[in-house]
């Protein structure tokens, strides 16, 4: 069984920007380990001759003509409507000298 360690779970949660309770950590650790073990069923199939550059749509190189009106652009008011206090607030990135 592909068992994930608690360290790996913590690291994954951090990569996902998630905080887990201790209970969630245990439950998720067990369920993820089960899933990762299960998906090894794919080892039964020989994929040595398969190209992994598969894409599902029929199109290639769909371009937007430079200078064309962008009809779906939101106004500033509409774009901010759902933000807390109608502003995008983030932690300071640069320190002041």
């Amino acid at each position: 069984m592909s068992v994930l360690t608690s360290e790996e779970i913590k690291k994954l949660a951090h990569l996902c920007g998630l905080t887990l309770t201790n209970n969630e950590q245990d439950v998720i650790k067990q369920k993820l380990s089960e899933t990762l073990t299960y998906v090894h069923i794919l080892d039964e199939l020989d994929t040595s001759k398969v190209d992994n550059k598969i894409h599902m749509s029929f199109t290639t190189n769909v371009f937007f003509e430079d200078g064309t009106e962008n009809t779906r652009q939101l106004s500033k008011i509409d774009a901010l409507k759902n933000a807390p206090n109608t502003r995008f607030e983030v932690p300071k990135v640069l320190e002041e000298k």
Binding site: I9, L12, L45, I54, D78, F88, E89
Partner: protein
């Protein structure tokens, strides 16, 4: 004027001949929703008045609908008011449809029962101790109990066909890229397909015509011309229909019996039945679990609680688990073992279907391995959603079109589903065969019995 059970096309005609007014029609459905929705929990939000005029329709809550709350059934978006309409919604409005409200789903479409919804489970109209299926559970419930004459749902792998099967309605998953995903809250971007859930095949054909087509806002949409699916509905065309033992052997007794009876009917109707060997659908569970969860981990990254929505600790356990599996499968050192391997098997599945569609026109199979489960039972399965959708995943992985139609009731009086799949952009064939089956059997009166339970 008895409206109960009338299809979209029938209602359209009644409006045109002025036998019923659009206002009356809207009020009719609103009354029914007010009467039954508390019990069924199909709708999360209801339009108290019709903003525009048209044929009423319900819309799954993962479609952005301008000016109304759109939640994807998650607390993260509990207060999110959509600032724009999804392309699907625009096309509905342009074609004289009006929204009755937004329907319940599994949160972020993660599931096959609506049990992961943050706003309660949707009850199966045939037995309210059971789930409706998912993730388009609310949509299927709304049609099955005639709280809407049709619904818009979406399918990543099974999310239209499975609840349609469990609730006893028609449900169509178009070819990937046939219908625009612009404005649909993304789950698996290489899988997601908006599609109709209806009471007749003609309605599904009509809605597909309205929704399908190239969209400048979704670069993955196909430029293939949109056919006259409705006008070209041909119940007399004969097909070579493939059946595969691996899709039949593990389903429950009643589902197997209903399937075998349906095949006999197709034979009697003059279609050729041919046994085919497809790659076992069991591999699809693993492929879909890895690829979908990888895409989910990326798509759900945008919910930062900074620009809109609540903070990430509002995610439910199912969403957290799926994001973490996806992140793991994509991470350095593991991407080859999991993600890339799954992509390659996806390639095998696609080639496998291409090969089989040289031998047959359509593949027929049961839609689900069993009928609607009791509420709570899904907790017994480690990856319930993916396991329930074993028979619908292959078509989703390949991106081919597929339709569910009811083909009977089991010993507990629960609907059983039959599905037809065909090759890319060949919706006309599966619509034709489904239409022919409908004319021949009337789906054994399943749909009619369904809405009569809610007089």
């Amino acid at each position: 004027m008895n409206i109960l059970g009338k299809s979209v096309l029938e209602l359209k005609k009644l409006i045109e001949t002025k036998e019923v007014s659009e206002n009356e029609l809207f009020a009719y459905f609103l009354r029914r929703i007010q009467k039954y929705n508390t019990k069924l929990n199909a709708y999360l939000s209801i339009e108290e008045t019709s903003k525009t005029k048209g044929i009423p329709i319900s819309i799954k809550d993962n479609f952005n609908t301008l000016g109304t709350i759109t939640t994807a059934s998650s607390n993260v978006l509990k207060n999110y008011v959509a600032p724009y309409n999804a392309t699907v919604v625009e096309r509905l409005l342009k074609n004289n449809f009006v929204s009755l409200g937004k329907t319940n789903m599994d949160a972020w479409a993660h599931g096959s029962s609506t049990e992961t919804s943050d706003f309660g489970v949707s009850r199966n109209p045939w037995d309210i101790t059971r789930v409706a299926g998912g993730s388009s559970g609310g949509a299927a419930v709304s049609v099955s109990s005639y709280l809407a004459p049709a619904a818009i749902g979406s399918e990543t792998a099974g999310s239209i066909r499975q609840p349609a099967s469990w609730c006893g309605t028609v449900g169509l998953k178009p070819t990937y890229g046939r219908v625009s995903r612009y404005g649909v809250i993304a789950m698996g971007s290489s899988f997601d397909c908006p599609g109709p859930i209806t009471t007749t095949v003609s309605d599904a054909a009509y809605l597909l015509e309205i929704l399908a087509g190239k969209d400048a806002f979704d670069a993955t949409t196909s430029s293939a011309p949109v056919e006259n699916y409705l006008k070209n509905l041909n119940p007399s065309k004969k097909y070579v229909v493939g059946i595969c033992e691996d899709y039949i052997k593990d389903v429950d007794e009643d589902t197997k019996k209903a399937f075998e009876k349906s095949i006999e009917i197709l034979k009697k109707m003059g279609h050729t039945i041919k046994k085919v060997n497809l790659l076992s659908p069991k591999y699809s569970i693993a492929v879909y679990t890895i690829l979908q969860r990888s895409e989910v981990s990326s798509n759900l990254n945008r919910y930062d609680g900074i620009r809109y929505g609540n903070k990430r600790n509002a995610f439910g356990e199912e969403a957290k688990r799926r994001m973490m599996l996806g992140t793991y499968a994509l991470s350095a050192g593991y991407a080859d073992e999991y993600y890339n391997k799954a992509v390659k098997v996806r390639g095998l599945i696609i080639e496998d279907f291409k090969k089989i569609f040289n031998e047959v026109d359509i593949i027929a199979a049961p839609t689900t391995p069993l009928t609607a489960l009791p509420v709570g039972e899904s907790a017994k399965y480690p990856f319930f959603g993916e396991a329930m959708d074993v028979l619908t995943e292959p078509a989703a992985i390949a991106g081919i079109p597929a339709i569910n139609i009811p083909n009977g009731l089991d010993n507990n009086d629960l609907p059983i589903g039959l599905q037809f799949m065909s090759k890319w952009l060949n919706e006309q064939s599966i619509l034709n065969l489904a239409y022919a089956f409908e004319k021949e059997t009337n789906f054994f009166d399943v749909i009619k019995k369904g809405f009569h339970r809610y007089e």
